[in-house]
Symmetry: none
Subunit: 416 residues, 2 copies
């Protein structure tokens, strides 16, 4: 079973709105074991919408049209579908009554053009509206299906979960379940990852060609978020797919070791927070070039107050001295990084101190080239520091310094 | 001139990554006066990528392929383009040398598969890489063009601005110059903005229907970045377009007043920095719920050290007392916000203090509901505070608190 997604709206092509609906739909289709090979965005233009629907039905068993069901003149998805089906639009009395009722309930007078939303291609099945005023549609053309849902995300999601996915699965006589898991890594180049995993990928490929079901492995470089390794498994049941994924995760972790810092929606900061809680320790941070970025990431984790005491953003040299007790040495140096880490722990009454000092650019500073960063850690009465040499623009250097420093702390908390 | 966008990557179809690149590209194309009728997402599958490129070239003059240029086995955009062109891939010695140099500079050993990124379809022009290791491509097929750029957003944007849009405009023999200017606003609802500007928009519409060239006005609600008002003018020469835009900007500013805080790439923080420099003042910040976000935004401005002294992120109550001299009152209150602002100015030896305390959620705290935020300002020996009641999730509340507080300081520095 294959289904394409067609997102309709000129505002999507102009970049005024980012199309998040297609990504969500793609996730739902994958979860239901339905392949999605193409997703298309098209503007509010009937001939082009018609051409896009026809092409989708030529390549796939179904298409979900998202958007263009509103009451205004540029909402023409209904007309386009009717043209593809070769039928007229009829006023659906039941839908019309429901729209009138919705306006009455909200105490608003209804503009006449709202009745356009009660027009339905002849023979189509209506997905009743629950939230907005536009109903969805299920239409058949031979053995193919055309679904239409509104572009407003919460209305769309409701109708897709309630009617579209169940209809697609029923028509597919669906059995397979697809599961994905993403392992997030830091510290290895994409090419190094690829090289280390190559034997594993080759083994999986030959397992597939041998006829057995095997998971797949894919990489995704996410810049300042590290490199993601995605495992995907397809199986007859949820339990089988889960077992396949779990076994593959174990095999990949064996190869990548501590480079894996998080799974799926976890982040570097939530991992660090979890390790601090497990160790019963609190954290204080001292930031110079990162300017608050590290504190800001750590406090994005709900419940951070259990382990995060605060951060001293000492941008001015005198602030480093007054608040962190740093001596007279050069601002970007190993000794300053160590002093800042120890000073953060003391000033914030924390068990662990983490510090960042360096040159984010755009120009060299303190006799050090742009990209020179020292990260310091104060832990168990001792201090330690590491030198990073980063490239990129100012913001990239700040962001990479932040996650690199958190990774250093993670490895320290793991005893590595 | 028409150009389609082809976003390449299975992770996009599976919804693991939202395709924001296409939206950004659509905005750039529209700004350059180039039509974009279709945007397509396709997975890492060579026959399907080839079919999608061929179809785009059948419908349009050009296609921008985004993604699939990395070093791994599933990065096959280069191969697909070579197939469409009917040529082989050659190793580009110059690109290869640059990739090797990049690894050397970072002190990392290069895995061999990175050399895949130096392979170029025969006859293609290379867009040199500046940030990542993958170069972009400009290829011709008859009078059509195929562009390839990386999927990593900052690398993609750099290459598109530097090479793709200029090449497209040159090939379009673009005679008309299209200029856009974006006025960024904070503090007005979209409907209020629309209402205030309605007479201006009506005047422009009638000027157009009268045959004269007139700019256009469009709104773009950008959530935590405020609402953008985009002015676009089309004229025979750059100078004429600039004059049209300048006149329109003056008219719009007349209507919107101090709600306009920045133009184009300027930000709230760069505006605040400029006002501090003009006033000869330095700033110290105290943050609770924002956790470092404010300091991190301010230090994203190059040269911030001239006016930003630092920030005390006092997440723990004791840190507020020890580092900021805050008394025993409730943490989320007007008096604490005032004390934090004054304490930040003192502790960081700054002329102006700005503070944030509140409840970001997910649960109520200090007897205050989620979304309660106090912003304090210490200026010229006096303190002041304002209460915000924000809605949304934890991160949204933190972000809106940060920009709202900076806007409050901006208005204070403007003497409003």
């Amino acid at each position: 079973m294959r289904c394409e997604v067609l997102a309709i709206g000129t505002e999507l092509l102009l970049g005024q709105v980012v199309d998040t609906n297609s990504a969500w739909l793609g996730e739902q289709l994958a979860g239901a074991g339905i392949d999605c090979h193409f997703q298309v965005k098209v503007g509010d233009n009937q001939p082009r919408i018609v051409a896009a629907i026809r092409q989708a039905l030529a390549r796939a068993d179904a298409v979900i049209c998202c958007g263009g069901l509103g009451p205004t003149q540029d909402d023409i998805t209904r007309e386009a579908i009717a043209e593809v089906l070769g039928v007229d639009l009829d006023l659906d009395e039941e839908v019309a009554a429901r729209i009138e009722e919705m306006f009455r309930a909200r105490g608003r007078t209804m503009a006449l053009n709202n009745m356009r939303q009660a027009e339905v291609p002849r023979g189509a099945q209506v997905i009743p509206q629950r939230r907005g005023t536009a109903p969805g549609l299920i239409c058949r053309l031979g053995d193919r299906s055309i679904y239409a849902v509104p572009g407003v995300p919460h209305e769309m999601r409701d109708m897709v979960e309630r009617a579209v996915i169940p209809d697609l699965m029923a028509r597919a006589g669906q059995s397979a379940t697809i599961l994905s898991r993403t392992l997030r890594t830091w510290g290895l180049a994409e090419s190094t990852l690829a090289e280390r995993l190559a034997p594993r990928i080759a083994a999986l490929d030959s397992a597939v060609s041998g006829g057995a079901a095997a998971p797949t492995i894919a990489f995704l470089a996410s810049g300042i978020e590290g490199i993601k390794v995605r495992l995907t498994a397809k199986a007859a049941t949820q339990a089988e797919a889960e077992a396949l994924i779990a076994a593959e995760e174990a095999a990949v972790r064996q190869v990548l070791g501590p480079a894996v810092f998080a799974v799926d929606g976890e982040t570097m900061e939530s991992t660090v927070g979890g390790l601090l809680v497990a160790a019963g320790k609190t954290l204080g941070v001292a930031e110079s070039l990162t300017g608050g970025l590290v504190g800001s990431r750590l406090t994005a984790v709900a419940g951070a107050s259990a382990w995060f005491r605060g951060s001293v953003v000492a941008y001015a040299t005198e602030a480093k001295r007054a608040l962190l007790g740093v001596g007279d040495g050069p601002a970007v140096s190993e000794s300053t990084a160590r002093e800042m880490a120890a000073g953060a722990a003391t000033a914030l009454d924390a068990d662990v101190g983490l510090s960042f000092t360096g040159v984010a650019g755009p120009t060299d500073a303190d006799g050090q080239p742009v990209g020179t960063v020292w990260v310091g850690v104060a832990y168990d009465g001792a201090t330690d520091a590491r030198l990073l040499r980063l490239s990129g623009g100012r913001e990239q250097i700040r962001q990479i310094a932040a996650i690199s420093g958190l990774d250093l702390l993670r490895r320290r908390l793991l005893g590595l």
